[in-house]
């Protein structure tokens, strides 16, 4: 089975290469990849759930806005994302439920401070083998 995502090298930043059988899986895997850059995702449990609804102009914009929303849960609300369940996804809108755990310094080790999710070289595409996305995070 193909890996759900890879973390790629970029001089001043961190890149994510994410795969999925369909758009829902792609967006769900992108959420896991983001958590993995912030902390070790295996150490995050589902303590609370939150409803999310994000819009975009097209697939790349939707992906950036989706990850922006998830990043804000961490940077603005101190919540780490354990997993997400995608309820509905189209090119302009994604509706999902995120399972999150409030950050506790004795439980979670933070690996990277992500400044932002960038549009730099953003790519979301569908091919015969499935969906792929490339996203660069500014750290």
């Amino acid at each position: 089975m193909r890996k759900p995502y890879e973390i790629i090298d970029h001089t001043a930043d961190i890149g994510l290469h994410v795969y999925g059988a369909d758009a829902a899986e792609l967006f769900s895997n992108a959420a896991s990849a983001l958590t993995d850059v912030i902390t070790d995702h295996r150490g995050v449990v589902a303590a609370e759930s939150l409803n999310l609804s994000v819009t975009g102009l097209d697939w790349p914009d939707l992906m950036v806005n989706w990850l922006r929303e998830l990043l804000y849960l961490w940077s603005g609300k101190d919540l780490l994302v354990a997993s997400v369940e995608i309820e509905q996804v189209s090119e302009q809108k994604i509706v999902a439920v995120a399972s999150v755990e409030p950050f506790r310094s004795e439980r979670h080790r933070i690996h990277n401070e992500i400044k932002a999710v960038t549009y730099h070289q953003i790519d979301v595409s569908e091919s015969l083998t499935g969906w792929e996305a490339k996203i660069i995070l500014d750290v």
Binding site: H10, T11, A12, R68, R109, H111, K115, V117, Y119, D138
Partner: protein
């Protein structure tokens, strides 16, 4: 990409395709041969396609691959016909550096270095998402955003001289906090007085070499003197402002009929409602960053007084200057023989105004603006001075630092099995840090040699070397 050599330090990216102006890169032939130069050169060309760009899309010798704009990029746009781009400023709005001198000497500090670095580390919040001891109320946060360093002055964290010795007096008066999102306001409440992570640091150093004794004298620098350098910015508040406006401009860009080579270059006409809103929101983040660096300097003063058991007068920790290296500003420059109002974007570039410029504080106006260039933690940092040539060629701008050479991952690989802190300690440099990967990612060889970068701007004449500093101890996030 084709490059045309003008002279040893000037390389032109010829105007082709949709470029409105050529690119101009300050570098040596050896620097341009490095494998990582292809992408930033493309970015220099991309910036040249934006509406209203004047003269050239410029890149300093510490140029490297950014998002949208290259890091080390300078671009000026006509105030009436040009655009402003949040990507031309960067996420960390008013990331900058300040340098303070002291009355202490290396001889006096060396025996207490361990105690000093430990006390600094205990008293200055560092690391990912670090919280400051100041939790701001909504009212206080609004004041910080409007007043910058002046807020710090009113609250006893600054002296009058500190404020005068800060670029723009530590306050952009056009700041309008009403334009900030709730998210930006929320993130700003808890991070004032924190250093952050990544390449941000506080470093105690010593003046190792003075190149220009008369200018160094005016700056108040002499060999053997202990200095304190701080590098940080506007923290989460600044990132959020940038992100909010990238999203907002991205929604509007199609109506403007601007065809962008890269979405991260998204922009708005300077005089449009969105363009003005960005500049006034950016000013809030810039003011926050100045207040932040001022509070941190205050903490450093307290630590030094305690460790050396001396009063403020004997310590004499005096702010030499504070520069921002991620900013967009309205300035007047001579373009094609006439004075024009322009919006200068400096992204990983430092203002370097010439002697006599009215924006340079009185203390230094006769010699020119001090420019602070931090290097990596194992080698050196520099103090330069602005020149008339910078006014002519680069809209009064120069380089900002060493620039990364290795990606974070590659740096971690290169450091495997090594104890970077011990290697540094063997050279007499003590380091304290928070994040697990920070030290490896930030080790000296992850960066280009700052001396080579500085030699280019000095050789090209867009700033001049005044003094070199050598690190003694560093705290990092």
């Amino acid at each position: 990409m084709e490059l045309r050599k003008i002279d040893r330090y000037h390389w032109e990216v010829p105007k082709t395709g949709r470029m409105h102006v050529p690119g101009m890169v300050y570098a040596t032939a050896a620097m341009l041969k490095e494998s990582d130069q292809k992408e930033p050169l493309q970015q220099v060309a991309n910036v040249a396609t934006l509406p209203g760009i004047l003269k050239a899309s410029l890149a300093m010798p510490d140029m490297h691959w950014g998002y949208g704009f290259p890091i080390g990029g300078v671009a000026a746009f006509d105030w009436h016909t040009g655009v402003v781009s949040p990507g031309g400023v960067g996420y960390d709005i008013n990331c900058g550096v300040r340098l303070a001198s002291t009355h202490l000497t290396e001889k006096e500090v060396r025996p207490h270095l361990e105690n000093l670095v430990n006390t600094l580390f205990q008293n200055i919040p560092t690391g990912v998402g670090a919280r400051g001891p100041l939790k701001l109320s909504n009212q206080e946060e609004l004041q910080v955003l409007r007043e910058g360093s002046r807020w710090a002055l009113r609250h006893g964290y600054a002296s009058d001289e500190d404020v005068q010795h800060t670029e723009d007096g530590g306050c952009l008066p056009e700041a309008d906090p009403q334009l900030l999102s709730d998210r930006a306001m929320e993130r700003g409440k808890k991070q004032l007085g924190t250093l952050g992570s990544g390449n941000h640091f506080l470093e105690v150093g010593v003046v190792d070499t003075v190149f220009d004794p008369s200018v160094a004298g005016v700056f108040g620098l002499s060999e053997g003197q202990i200095t304190v350098m701080l590098h940080c910015g506007s923290r989460g508040l600044g990132y959020q402002v940038c992100d909010d406006f990238l999203a907002r401009m991205n929604k509007q860009i199609h109506q403007l009929g601007i065809d962008l080579p890269d979405r991260q270059l998204v922009c708005a006409p300077i005089e449009s409602e969105t363009g003005q809103a960005y500049l006034h929101a950016m000013a809030c983040a810039a003011n926050y960053a100045w207040a932040n660096r001022q509070v941190l300097l205050h903490r450093a003063r307290e630590v030094f007084q305690r460790v050396f058991d001396i009063g403020p007068r004997d310590l004499g920790m005096r702010l030499i200057y504070d520069v921002c290296h991620n900013i967009a500003k309205k300035e007047d420059h001579l373009v094609e023989g006439r004075q024009r109002a322009v919006c200068v974007h400096r992204k990983g570039a430092t203002r370097a105004f010439a002697p006599g410029h009215p924006a340079v504080c009185e203390t230094y106006r006769l010699v020119g603006q001090p420019v602070i260039i931090p290097g990596d933690m194992g080698r050196a940092s520099y103090v330069l001075v602005g020149t008339a040539k910078a006014m002519e060629e680069t809209f009064g701008s120069t380089c900002h630092g060493a620039g990364r050479r290795l990606s974070r991952k590659a740096a971690k690989r290169a450091s495997k099995g090594r104890a970077i802190h011990r290697e540094l300690a063997d050279k007499g440099i003590l380091v304290r840090w928070t994040g697990r990967g920070t030290l490896a990612e930030e080790m000296p060889e992850a960066y280009k040699d700052v001396s080579e970068v500085v030699d280019v701007v000095h050789g090209a004449g867009i700033s001049r070397k005044v003094a070199r500093l050598r690190p003694m101890c560093v705290i990092k996030g």
